[in-house]
Symmetry: C2
Subunit: 149 residues, 2 copies
């Protein structure tokens, strides 16, 4: 227990329980749950509602903590930053879709934190959406924006 699994080839496979993840990261369980509540991470959830973390999830949390404790950007700041990811470009939203999409309009939290109902994002769960998966390091938002500028 509490060991990094090297038998898993896919870094996106959710294998670690919350206690293992917390141990590997050197943080407490409530902290992990807080990051999730704030929308900084979306762990996989089993049918029973239990969380399972992948290797990429761990990396993601590592980046979050570097940003909070190293760069001194607050959680609210990170959320604001993540809201700048041009999801409407990545997903190629139409003008009509943008006009009614909170993720396009607002800028206080990442797109995956808004309710997805009647737009094209409701087709795929956010945990497997490229907008979420392709940007594990919140310090790389600028890079991402540059691509579409």
């Amino acid at each position: 227990m509490f060991e990094i699994r090297k038998d898993i080839t896919d870094a996106n496979t959710p294998v670690y329980t919350i206690s293992t993840a917390a141990h590997l990261l050197g943080i407490s369980i409530p902290t992990l749950r807080m990051y999730e509540k704030e929308g900084l991470i979306i762990p996989y959830k089993k049918e029973s509602n239990q969380r399972r973390y992948s290797q990429n999830d761990l990396y993601r949390v590592k980046c979050i903590r570097e940003t909070i404790n190293g760069t001194k950007i607050s959680i609210q700041g990170i959320k604001h930053l993540l809201s700048l990811i041009p999801c409407w470009k990545i997903k190629n939203c139409s003008t009509d879709e943008r006009a009614v999409c909170e993720a396009f309009i607002s800028h206080d939290k990442p797109c995956w934190m808004y309710p997805h109902k009647n737009n094209l994002c409701s087709e795929i769960p956010c945990i497997s959406c490229e907008v979420y998966t392709k940007l594990s390091d919140c310090k790389k938002v600028k890079e991402t924006i540059k691509i579409y500028l």
Copy 2:
């Protein structure tokens, strides 16, 4: 003393001393100097090195404080946010210029906080550069980015 001057038509004219500005904003003088040190504001400086604040400067500080105290984004977060303003697009930098420009490469502070030597930005002081002047409210970075996306 300590009164908003209504005789000044140009909101960019630097008229208020630091004590007047602090009083009008309801904050201390060191706080104003801190915001400046962090690159969140560039007050006009007289030949004697004394600061003079314009009406727009006051508005800018008001927005900074809303962001810190209301939105709960830290100063480091605001700096990071301001670094995302696509100055290279606004100023129409060449590929060669971008390649050596810290403002293009880095993302920890606004472009006007980097030393400007051998690029086209050295022609104009940052205080009168449109990249700085056109975005008084740091909460409107997303709007600005959208224009160029």
